[in-house]
C-alpha cells in the first residue's frame, strides 16, 4: 500500500493534508487516492453552511464545530473562498474566524479556492469531502463562498444544508422565494444581536407558509455566532434533520440522488476530455470558425466532435 495511505489510515493529519492537495489538483494520482479511500467514507454527517458574503458563515461554522467538540465529536472543516477569475489566485481568510480550533487535535480546517467552479464550491469538493469523511471525522462542515441566489450546489454535497441570513441587511425576502431558500434544511438568522432579527424570523416564517402543503418546512433559528448563542439549538436542529431523513427513509434516497449527480458530473467531464483528445486543436478551431461564420450550426458541429470521439 502507498505509504501516505497507510499513514492516513493510522490517523496522520499531515498525510490527510497531503492527500487533499493531490485530490484538489485533480491529478491521476489524486483520483487513485479517492479510489483507495472512498470505501472508508460514508460515516460522517456532512453539513453545508451557505449564505451571503459576510453573513457569519465562518464564525458560525467555527462555533458549531466547537459545540460538536463539547459533545465529544471530531470535526473536519472545508471552507471555500473565491478564486480570482483574472489571476486564478485567491485569498483564503475563513480560518481567521476559527482561530480557537487551530490547536484542537479533534478538528482539522482546510481552506479551498473555488478554482473557477460555479455554485459556491470548488471543482474537487465532493472528493475532498469524501477524503475527510474517510479520515474518520464525525462531522464534515463545508462553508461555501458567500452565495447569491442560485449557488445551490451545496445541497448535492452536504446531507444537511444551513442557510445563514442577517437582519437589517435589506435582503429582499421576496427574491429569496425563487432561489436558494428551497435548498435550505435549516434557516438561521445570525447576528441576532442586531436589531430586526425577530422581524426577519417572521418574514421567513411567512415566506415558508406559502410553500405547498406537505412540503417540508425548515426550522428557523436565531444565532449570535460571535457569542456562541443559539449554537447548541442549531446542533440539535441538525441532528433533528438527519433523524427525520432516517425516519422517513429519505436518507437513502438523498444519498442515491447525490451519488447520481456526482457520477454523472464525472462522466460528463471524462467524455468532454475524450472529445478534446480525439479532435486536434486546429480541427476544433476550424469547426468553431465555421459556426462563427454561420456556415455550420452549433448542433451539427458538436455532433461531429462527439462522433469523432466515439470512433
Amino acid at each position: 500500500m502507498d505509504q501516505l495511505v497507510e499513514k492516513f489510515l493510522s490517523g496522520d493529519r499531515r498525510a490527510l493534508a497531503r492527500i487533499i492537495s493531490r485530490v484538489e489538483n485533480q491529478t491521476p494520482e489524486g483520483r487513485a487516492y479517492v479510489r483507495d479511500l472512498f470505501p472508508h467514507s460514508g460515516r460522517a454527517h456532512t453539513i453545508g453552511v451557505t449564505g451571503g458574503a459576510g453573513s457569519g458563515k465562518s464564525t458560525l461554522t467555527g462555533a458549531l464545530a466547537a459545540e460538536y467538540r463539547r459533545r465529544g465529536h471530531t470535526v473536519g472543516i472545508v471552507a471555500v473562498d473565491p478564486s480570482s477569475p483574472f489571476t486564478q489566485g485567491a485569498i483564503l481568510g475563513d480560518r481567521i474566524r476559527m482561530q480557537d480550533l487551530t490547536l484542537d487535535p479533534g478538528v482539522y480546517v482546510r481552506s479551498m479556492a473555488s478554482r473557477g467552479a460555479l455554485g459556491g464550491l470548488a471543482p474537487s469538493i465532493d472528493d475532498v469531502v469524501s477524503i475527510m469523511d474517510a479520515f474518520g471525522f464525525d462531522y464534515v462542515l463545508i462553508e461555501t463562498v458567500g452565495a447569491g441566489q442560485d449557488e445551490v450546489e451545496i445541497a448535492g454535497t452536504a446531507l444537511t444544508t444551513i442557510l445563514v441570513n442577517n437582519p437589517g441587511t435589506g435582503d429582499d425576502i421576496q427574491a429569496m422565494k425563487a432561489g436558494i431558500i428551497e435548498i435550505a434544511d435549516i434557516l438561521v438568522v445570525n447576528k441576532a444581536d442586531h436589531p430586526g432579527a425577530d422581524v426577519l424570523v417572521s418574514q421567513l416564517q411567512a415566506l415558508l407558509s406559502l410553500a405547498p402543503a406537505g412540503s417540508r418546512r425548515p426550522p428557523i433559528l436565531k444565532t449570535t455566532a460571535i457569542r456562541g448563542e443559539g449554537i447548541a439549538e442549531l446542533a440539535d436542529a441538525v441532528a433533528g434533520h438527519r433523524a427525520g431523513l432516517e425516519h422517513s427513509g429519505e436518507l437513502e434516497q438523498q444519498r442515491a440522488a447525490d451519488a447520481r449527480h456526482q457520477v454523472l458530473a464525472i462522466a460528463r467531464a471524462i467524455l468532454l476530455e475524450r472529445i478534446r483528445r480525439a479532435t486536434p486543436e486546429e480541427e476544433l478551431d476550424g469547426l468553431v470558425r465555421r459556426v462563427a461564420a454561420r456556415e455550420l450550426d452549433p448542433h451539427t458541429a458538436a455532433e461531429e466532435l462527439a462522433a469523432a470521439a466515439g470512433q
Partner: protein, 135 residues
C-alpha cells in the same frame, strides 16, 4: 502566472506575536493573490504553534511571517521548531517587517530564504516565491 489547472502555489501568511495591525501582511497577501497564488491568511496574534499547525493543515508550499514588534528572534525560532516537530520540513520560508540588518545571518541560518523590509516592491516578493518554491 500559472496555467489554469496547474497546481497552485499555496502560501501561508501569518503574523506571530502581539502586533496589533496587519496592513503589511495584507499587502503581501494581496500581491501574491494577484500573482496567482492561493494565500491562506490567518490574521493577527498567532502563537508559533498556531502558525505551524495551520501550515500543516493547509499543506502550504510557502510560509511567510510578518512581524513589527521586534520579537522575531524570540518567535521565529519557535515557529521553525514547531514546523519541524510536525514534520513540515520542506516549505519555503520567508519573513518581512521591521528586522534589523544585524539579525539577517541568524534568520538565514534558521532557514529563512529571504527577508523583506519596509519599502520592498511586492513584485519582488512574488518573483521570489515563484523562483524558489519547491514544486
Amino acid at each position: 502566472m500559472t496555467a489554469p489547472g496547474a497546481p497552485k502555489i499555496r502560501v501561508l501568511i501569518a503574523k506571530p506575536g502581539l502586533d496589533g495591525h496587519d496592513r503589511g501582511a495584507k499587502v503581501v497577501a494581496r500581491a501574491l493573490r494577484d500573482g496567482g497564488c492561493e494565500v491562506i491568511y490567518t490574521g493577527i496574534r498567532q502563537t508559533p504553534e498556531m502558525v505551524a499547525e495551520a501550515a500543516l493543515q493547509e499543506d502550504v508550499d510557502v510560509v511567510g511571517l510578518s512581524i513589527l514588534s521586534g520579537a522575531h528572534l524570540e518567535l521565529f525560532p519557535r515557529v521553525v521548531e514547531e514546523l519541524k516537530k510536525r514534520g513540515v520540513d520542506d516549505v519555503l520560508l520567508f519573513c518581512g517587517g521591521i528586522i534589523p540588518e544585524e539579525d539577517t545571518k541568524q534568520l538565514e541560518d534558521l532557514g529563512f530564504a529571504a527577508i523583506f523590509r519596509p519599502g520592498t516592491n511586492t513584485q519582488d516578493i512574488v518573483k521570489f516565491v515563484y523562483d524558489h518554491v519547491k514544486k
